[in-house]
Symmetry: C2
């Protein structure tokens, strides 16, 4: 580490081949048919991937620390002892039929950025760190984003100790068994956090952008809607004499979609679960229920859209001779990322001439938790057809390299 | 039997109290909570109700015959040996949570008509008969309308012998065990058949009609519709980039209802079963399926409406970025009842000054089977709120008496 980076230097290039090869190395752990991986948090597969990451970090000269939630923070010292750690990472755990990039890319991009600096002999004033947050996916242990939630103080030590899998296994016991339960319930202080992640949506690909600079994570509201009408005989009951709860629900779904479209391109209004109390082709449905998933990056717009969706259901219920009750089940506020972190990423993308856009994240990420206590932002890499949580998930080596170069620039900027 | 009825006589009045009391007597057999009855075909409860009916028929001087399907035909001789039997009846079996009137009223009305003639000492030229068709409901033994289907030649002797309950019990074995398996596979010849039944719908009550003269039974088509789109993440996938199969299905349901309404008051278009391949509030649905139940009393109109429903699904699928496959599962032709039988019932209703209307039956009935081989019609009695197959099913003593008076007149007309 003989040099300090400065703006007059030509931009560093990360090693795209090494980055890709490490993706493939991790993917072999818990590999499943069709280019997928299954590494549920704190299983043997997760532990094996953690051990491989730890060995790479050790080889890169990083000092690994593991906290009470099993979060891994591998630190590269800075030249100024007064500076806080500028960190980057994501998660190594996967969905049961997960792909090779969700989470993994963010951890490996952070490691690649550090190794690129090592290779170039460049020191930073602030320490850097590679982070692997525990149990982002929340498959075996709920809730998801467990490690970052604990880090941000959203999950207490006690709640963490009480976390159990469906089979009764305590999170603490399994983490200890795998060798990944740290002693310290102290949170390792970070001065900034950047997370690279695949987009998990189609926007960047569709708009031919190579990089997404994530300015926010959408807020989320779930509304439970129950529609009550009257069960009736499909043969004997005239159409104008029905209180058909499924028909009322169908009208609501169509109108909810219209309301979402009218709210602009950042709005999401979705119904993915719809149930009926009766299930016979010859019975007019008397009771139907569904869940509306509403998302928007702006708090006020999200509240307005939620109110509009509620009104649509209530109005169409009456017009269909039914009644509707609408109950808010979940509400997560939007997260606005730190302006300095966003600017550092955007400067990197612009300086290198990548096609990029600012974007709101539709999915939740560890970064949204970390942002509550640390200046944070994210960078998105396009993924093919927007597919994720699927063995067909794919991000190209070129796009991963571009995103990692932007991450490298931003880390250098923040840690300079 | 000293008199022959003629038009100069004042109309006979059936005994409304006796008719009601017999409803209550039958209802006690297999009584369940909330004014309901459970008498599945050929169970001990059905056998007990049959025995009670047989005793009443014997007391009324009728000769009981039982055929190979367990159908009961209790004959009152006529004065002209050359004439065929003019019969009336329905069924004594019920749904698992059935009411006191569905089926029962038709059997007891036929018996009441005969007893009224007995009380008045009136003979008819043609023999009369009270009929109880076996297993109309089809709960324990499928298909429903079993006795009348066998009678009409729609179910062979072999198919009848192969009919089993879900627990493996053969219909023949259980019918023999209960004492209700007749020896003769000969069908007892009928010259005409009239069935009184509760409407099981709301039309008569809503229009304040006391009597419905049933001219037809609606034809029925079931269409299986499968809608294919693409599973997607509800947070990351923009609304204008989705192939949302549930949203497409919702648009179809709304449009199918419009098509039914445009087809006039006799049309029925219903969706009572809708399923999705995924079930998560945050997943855009990639696969949805539903069944369209389409009914109309006119064959050509039913075919046209079925084609229109198919086109609606195919068009809206494309407009929603999805594909739809539409497959016809069931098609039952409409039944037009016999003009002479309809006229006999209508004359009775008109002569007595009852508020009546002609009506198409939306539900299937034994009469629709019998009509394939015997001149047939039906008379409907209003039922409260159109509720049936439910312990809250209710028809008033006054309305039951009115319908039975009309039935009496029509039987006298046909048997004179």
């Amino acid at each position: 580490m003989t040099r300090i980076a400065n703006d007059a230097m030509p931009p560093l290039q990360i090693n795209a081949d090494r980055l890709w090869a490490r993706h493939m190395d991790i993917a072999r752990i818990g590999a499943i048919a069709g280019n997928g991986s299954c590494r549920l948090a704190m299983t043997a597969e997760d532990a094996e991937a953690r051990a491989l990451l730890a060995s790479w970090c050790r080889d890169a000269g990083l000092e690994l620390r593991v906290d009470r939630a099993g979060n891994m923070v591998a630190v590269r010292p800075g030249s100024d002892p007064a500076r806080g750690i500028v960190a980057s990472g994501s998660h190594l755990d996967t969905q049961p039929h997960g792909g090779r990039f969700d989470g993994v890319s963010g951890v490996l991009a952070a490691l690649e950025a550090v190794e690129t600096l090592n290779d170039a002999g460049i020191a930073t004033a602030a320490p850097l760190a590679v982070v692997n947050w525990t149990n982002e996916e929340g498959v075996r242990y709920a809730p998801g984003l467990l490690g970052s939630a604990w880090y941000a103080g959203l999950l207490t030590d006690e709640a963490l100790s009480d976390t159990r899998a469906a089979d009764g296994m305590l999170f603490d016991d399994e983490a200890r068994l795998r060798g990944w339960l740290g002693d310290s319930s102290e949170k390792i202080p970070l001065a900034a956090f950047l997370e690279l992640h695949i987009e998990q949506g189609p926007v960047l690909e569709r708009e031919e952008k190579q990089v997404g600079v994530v300015t926010s994570v959408q807020g989320l509201t779930w509304l439970d809607v129950r529609v009550s009408g009257t069960d009736a005989h499909a043969g004997t009951t005239p159409l104008d004499h029905r209180q058909d709860a499924l028909l009322a629900a169908a009208r609501m779904l169509a109108a909810l979609n219209e309301a979402g479209l009218e709210c602009g391109p950042a709005a999401r209004v979705s119904v993915g679960r719809l149930t009926t109390a009766t299930d016979g082709p010859s019975t007019v449905v008397g009771e139907a229920a569904f869940v509306i998933d509403i998302r928007h990056p702006d708090t006020g717009t999200l509240a307005g859209l939620t109110a509009k969706c509620t009104a649509i259901c209530e109005t169409l219920a009456v017009q269909s001779g039914c009644t509707a009750t609408v109950t808010q089940r979940i509400s997560v506020s939007p997260t606005q990322f730190d302006a300095s972190c966003v600017r550092a990423l955007e400067d990197g993308a612009a300086r290198r001439g990548y096609a990029y856009r600012k974007i709101a994240s539709g999915a939740l990420h560890d970064a949204a938790n970390v942002a509550k206590v640390v200046p944070t932002a994210m960078v998105f890499v396009p993924c093919r057809d927007g597919i994720s949580h699927n063995v067909n998930e794919y991000a190209s080596p070129e796009d991963l390299a571009a995103g990692t170069n932007v991450l490298l620039d931003a880390l250098l900027d923040l840690a300079r």
